[in-house]
């Protein structure tokens, strides 16, 4: 048990360091941005002295290092600043939209795993069969699809022609179907391939031969011995694939006018509202760091070899 605790503690430290690194990075990007929030907020008729006074009031006349600590202090209190274009608290804006993005990525992950794991198992057990080969081809094609185009195809088929699902926006849980599948299908290939190769590896293990030699039924061996061990990397992948999925969500949200974080940051960029951009990047990064951390720790718990490295 001791080495597990040590492993978790080490990972937690690294996680905190990564978050700190990201805050510095985000702050640096925003510092390099042309103009500053006051110049954008204040009318050009306001005198230079008044502008300087406001800047001093906001601490913007301090050196960047001091400003960074001001910013961090506010962030720690949950204050991400006030949006330039919407004149609202960025924390509130993010909190309103975060549930929608989480719902979309969560549903997509669920769909991905429900489809990919059984197919991966099937492809591995029937290796080199017609089913295996066609599944490999289908997943490569799906993998090559830009999610935004897949989304357009779905809208055309299910909303414009068949008229059975809403085109865009949020209108109850049915609105979730198209965006979730759009997000899930292209990234499903990864999980499918991982499951397939892991199952193939495990099938070669001696304990599987033993299980068959004991006279266990094929189904029992596959579920109890093969799938359980092959699932270790697949479970870890669940958390590690999140950053990519969230990135994809930004694009998919745009296709379906989904009221999530992706739409928020996209609109903010078109209005040069970098207070929102800063906040969204920070929140999403912290979320992914947490997910990576869970993935790492889970890997260590499930597979003792990793934590002893």
């Amino acid at each position: 048990m001791n080495d597990i605790m040590r492993f978790i503690a080490k990972r937690l430290c690294i996680g905190v360091l990564v978050v700190l690194f990201v805050t510095v990075l985000v702050f640096a990007i925003m510092q390099a941005m042309p103009g500053n929030p006051i110049d954008l907020m204040v009318d050009t008729r306001v005198s230079a002295e008044k502008v300087a006074e406001i800047k001093a009031q906001w601490g913007l006349d301090e050196p960047p290092v001091v400003q960074y600590f001001y910013w961090i202090k506010n962030v720690l209190r949950g204050d991400l600043g006030t949006s330039i274009s919407l004149k609202q608290s960025v924390s509130d804006l993010i909190l309103q939209r975060l549930p929608y993005t989480l719902m979309l990525t969560g549903a997509a992950l669920l769909i991905e795993y429900i489809i990919a794991i059984p197919l991966g198992l099937l492809a591995a057990v029937k290796k080199n069969s017609a089913a295996d080969k066609s599944l490999t081809v289908v997943t490569i094609v799906l993998w090559s699809m830009p999610p935004f185009w897949l989304g357009v195809l779905f809208i055309l088929t299910f909303s414009v022609w068949l008229k059975i699902l809403p085109i865009s926006g949020w209108d109850g849980i049915v609105s979730l179907i198209l965006p979730a599948f759009t997000l899930a299908l292209p990234s499903l290939a990864q999980i499918f391939r991982l499951t397939r190769s892991e199952v193939l590896d495990v099938l070669d293990e001696k304990y599987v031969t033993t299980a068959y030699a004991k006279g266990l039924k094929n189904k029992v061996v596959l579920v109890r011995h093969v799938l359980r061990n092959a699932m270790i990397p697949v479970t870890v992948m669940f958390f590690l694939s999140l950053p990519w999925l969230i990135g994809g969500a930004v694009v998919v949200e745009n296709v379906f006018a989904w009221p999530g974080m992706g739409q928020l940051i996209w609109k903010a960029i078109s209005k040069q509202d970098f207070v929102i951009v800063q906040g969204v990047v920070l929140v999403i990064t912290i979320l992914t760091v947490i997910c990576n951390l869970i993935g790492d720790i889970l890997a260590g718990i499930l597979d003792p070899r990793i934590r002893l490295e």
């Binding site: 990564v18 195809l153 990135g247 930004v250 694009v251």
Partner: protein
């Protein structure tokens, strides 16, 4: 000899052959775009706005009466060059850091590893959007932004390779002989990495094209009237009910290009997998 065998085996894989042919077609389109396209990509004609595909306009027209087919054909130049620039930059960053980390080891290695892991943790599209906001929207800036967020995949593999090469006797001999680190890296280590770098760069192309066209889709790529595949698609969504062809054509072009790289990558990946080696 071994390399030749592997190359032959690659050509036996039908997926690789199909991918290579598809890619060749893309290259032909890029080179002969002015010959293939019936119109220029800027030519507007309000009389034929939103025309369905016909003989004059094979893939229809957009709301300004511009020929979608011609725009997609010319757009291949932007899509491919932005993708290639992105991959070249990310190769430069990734390989440099990987070599430094693998060659010097110890504390430097730890720092580089940390930066690599930290970059890996940030959702690529989101960080790329922030970088484009900083640099301004343009095709070049999209390539830079995508490269800055995706070099980490190179560093890990290059680092492991460099560590293996560094342990070879002739590197030790060169060190005893008094050669400088830089000269050892340039003369002995980099030549050994060439094939790995080519393989990694090929494998990085599809995701680079998907990311750069995604940025284009979000309106951050090449600016109007340049034909950016992502943006043509985005522009078509508002006409999805009466002019679906606008969004269909650039989407097909992206899938075609990305698929060609992914299919070739299927064969190329085997070159990287140590289990298929020897």
């Amino acid at each position: 000899m071994v390399k030749k065998d592997k190359f032959k085996r690659m050509l036996k894989n039908p997926m690789v052959v199909i991918g290579a042919i598809m890619f060749l077609l893309v290259i032909l389109v890029v080179i002969f775009a002015p010959v293939i396209a019936p119109h220029s990509y800027t030519e507007q004609n309000a009389d034929v706005a939103l025309t369905a595909p016909c003989r004059e306009y094979p893939w229809g027209t957009d709301q300004y009466g511009r020929c979608i087919f011609s725009r997609v054909i010319y757009g291949s130049r932007i899509a491919l060059s932005v993708g290639i620039i992105a991959v070249v930059i990310e190769t430069l960053i990734g390989v440099t850091l990987g070599v430094i980390s693998g060659y010097y080891g110890k504390k430097i290695d730890k720092v580089v590893q940390f930066i690599t892991d930290a970059t890996w943790a940030i959702p690529p599209i989101i960080l790329a959007m922030a970088i484009v906001l900083m640099l301004g929207s343009s095709a070049t800036n999209v390539a830079i932004a995508v490269a800055v967020v995706s070099w980490a995949q190179f560093t890990k593999i290059i680092r492991t390779k460099v560590m293996a090469i560094k342990a070879l006797p002739y590197i030790e001999a060169a060190k005893i002989y008094g050669e400088s680190d830089l000269s050892i890296i340039v003369r002995y280590i980099l030549p050994n990495l060439v094939s790995t770098i080519i393989v990694l760069a090929t494998l990085a192309m599809p995701s680079a094209i998907l990311s750069t066209t995604s940025m284009g889709f979000l309106g951050l790529g090449a600016q109007q009237p340049l034909p950016d595949w992502g943006w043509i698609l985005q522009n078509g969504i508002q006409f999805i009910k009466k002019a679906a062809w606008i969004s269909m054509a650039p989407g097909l072009a992206i899938v075609w290009t990305v698929l060609s790289f992914n299919l070739v990558g299927e064969g190329v990946k085997e070159l990287l997998d140590p289990r298929t080696r020897v």
